[in-house]
């Protein structure tokens, strides 16, 4: 009789369970913030790897994991200074590597820009952006999703080998403490230099 009563009680509890509020998780002491780390040191790009390669930004330890990362290139330019045909963005590969080993291709094989009067762009890469960089036509300074038009290309050594992720979300919930490295290189290093 006692075993039967217990079984009934268990069934009643199970029947009620879906309608009960779910138990709270343990309290999570934390603090959080949005922090921007800026390097005002320039990076030059001719053929092949940029200089320096890679520049780094040191990020201190946070008491919480990184939830969201965005990255900004200030005053990006790349053009043939002998024949002004616009900006040769299509030759640039730009990859960001975090201290935990995650890496994302921010920009590769995007549109060559025929705008001959405006050679500089400030580009913010953010997964929340509405669009990526275009594969044809021009684009302006603004916020774009990382854009790797032909995935699989590798950055020159000593950049870490691929594959490279296509979104900055690869850094979510990683340890941000350490050096973040930016690899900028021109594809001309391997393709050789041809006219215009």
């Amino acid at each position: 009789m006692l075993r039967r009563l217990c079984l009934v009680l268990i069934v009643m509890v199970l029947a009620l369970l879906p309608a009960l509020p779910h138990s709270p998780l343990a309290p999570q002491p934390a603090q959080a913030a949005i922090t921007t780390f800026t390097s005002s040191s320039g990076i030059g790009v001719g053929r092949g790897a940029g200089n320096p390669y890679p520049p780094t930004i040191s990020v201190p330890s946070f008491d919480r994991s990184v939830m969201h990362v965005s990255m900004t290139l200030i005053g990006l330019s790349y053009r043939n200074s002998l024949v002004n045909l616009g900006c040769n963005w299509d030759l640039l590969d730009i990859m960001l590597a975090g201290p935990d080993g995650q890496r994302v291709m921010l920009m590769s094989d995007v549109a060559r820009d025929g705008n001959t009067s405006d050679s500089q762009r400030t580009l913010t890469f953010d997964d929340n952006a509405m669009t990526g960089l275009p594969t044809s036509g021009s684009f302006t300074s603004g916020t774009y999703a990382p854009t790797d038009v032909e995935p699989g290309e590798l950055m020159p050594a000593p950049a870490p080998a691929g594959p490279y992720a296509g979104g900055l979300s690869v850094f979510a919930n990683t340890d941000s403490d350490g050096l973040w490295s930016l690899y900028i290189a021109s594809e001309r290093a391997t393709n050789g230099c041809q006219g215009g």
Binding site: T35, F37, G42, N51, M67, R79, A129
Partner: protein
Amino acid sequence: MVALHCLRTGNEWLSGGVSGWSLTLSTGIQLSNSSRIAVNSTGVTGFYPSISGLGGAHGRIIQVIATLYGVSHARPADLDVLLVGPDGVGVLLMSDAVGSNALTDATLTFDDSAARALPEQQAATTGLYRPANYGSGVDPFVSPAPSGPYGASLSAFAGRDPNADWKLYVIDDTNDIGGEIARGWSVSIILDPTAPTTSAQLTPTANAGGWTNADTTVILTVTDTGGAGVQKITYSAFGAVSFASTTILATTVPISITVEGVTTLNYFATDRAGNVEATPSLVVRLDKTLPSATAPRARLLAGRQLSTSTMPVTLQWSGADGLSGLSRFQLQESVGGGAFAGVPVSPAKATTSTRQLTPGTTDRKRVRSADQANNISAFATGASFTPTAIQENAASLVYGGRWTSQALNAAFGGTLRFANTAGATATVTFTGRSIAWVSLTAANRGQAQVRIDGGAPVTVDLYTPTTRGRWTVFAANGLAAGTHSMVITVLGTKNAASGGTRVDIDALLFLP
């Protein structure tokens, strides 16, 4: 931009780079509840609400991102999903959205900064969306869900304390088709734990004592490093300038202080997350009024020593400042009609200075004062004067009784005259307002009596343990303009410690 390294080949010279780069990292709290939420065809779902709790977090909410994992429903328009956070604030993540376009194991992330809202009739897949509430009817959430209206964006949580149970209420408002949120949900919360800070800059800057001497502008500038951004500045003042608490929506504000005196400014900033700065204060001390100074007066004082060719003249002046107080005097002198030149005053607020002047040379002195705010008065210039000195053997000095002349290196001019016998006198008639008797003091010197214009006698004791030559042993100042007489009478008495009764006359000094 750094120097470029590029190689020229054919008609191509590629160059470029960036002038800088930055990383923006958002760190936060992620609450999750991975339990499956069954969406019953009969309205209220299982786990109503589904709860995830948070405690001990420090800071105010800047941003909330919510994610539903594994959403499946044949007709998503039936789904109403309500997220309730601190203070019972509810935000509809989705209601009557996506029409009849089935969702299959979709992970829907809701973020106010997403590029698109969850569509009303178009299909949706796993992705990032802004919350969307379509349809004009009231969504039939039942207790314990809070009653509406509900927020349309996750910004409704901004500025609130995140420490609470976060609850997800899911209902199916058509009651014919079921579904599920297979792997639960999460809320990512970005907090601003840091109150803004306000700096105050004075123009003109205050000096080391905290004073300014011109109309002053205090510029309050707020910075917020916590991520939320500055919302407002609140400030008030009391003292010389007084106004009630004022709040403006800005990151900087100029405050003009033009009334002299001490004003205390209190101010604090608030950021958009509701973090409030502890109230700093700034004391502004403004003194625009010049201090005053009186022209220096020349006097002869006893107890001063002559050099072999100059005589000590003491200058006295005064000054005043009614607000910040005096900080220093500047004394200048013109000798022989020359240009004024600075004379050290030590300590800086001293009102007297003794100068060694050359007898027979015209002098003029002037002084000005500065206050703590560095306001500086005009010079107050005294009248020109010529100090004079006569030796003991001058014709204007008439002796009575027995006096003896003596050559002595320590004497002014190398000679002096002395007497030991009571009743011996020396009388001088002079024109001027100050006179001093120069003598020699030593361990064997005696006492004398001095009368000015036959007035009350003053006894002068020439005993000192060590010898001091060219020493002013008596002085009188403030005499009426005109002719006066002074009589020195040897008393024949001595200090008990003295070995003799000798009295010396070395010289007499005069000021007009």
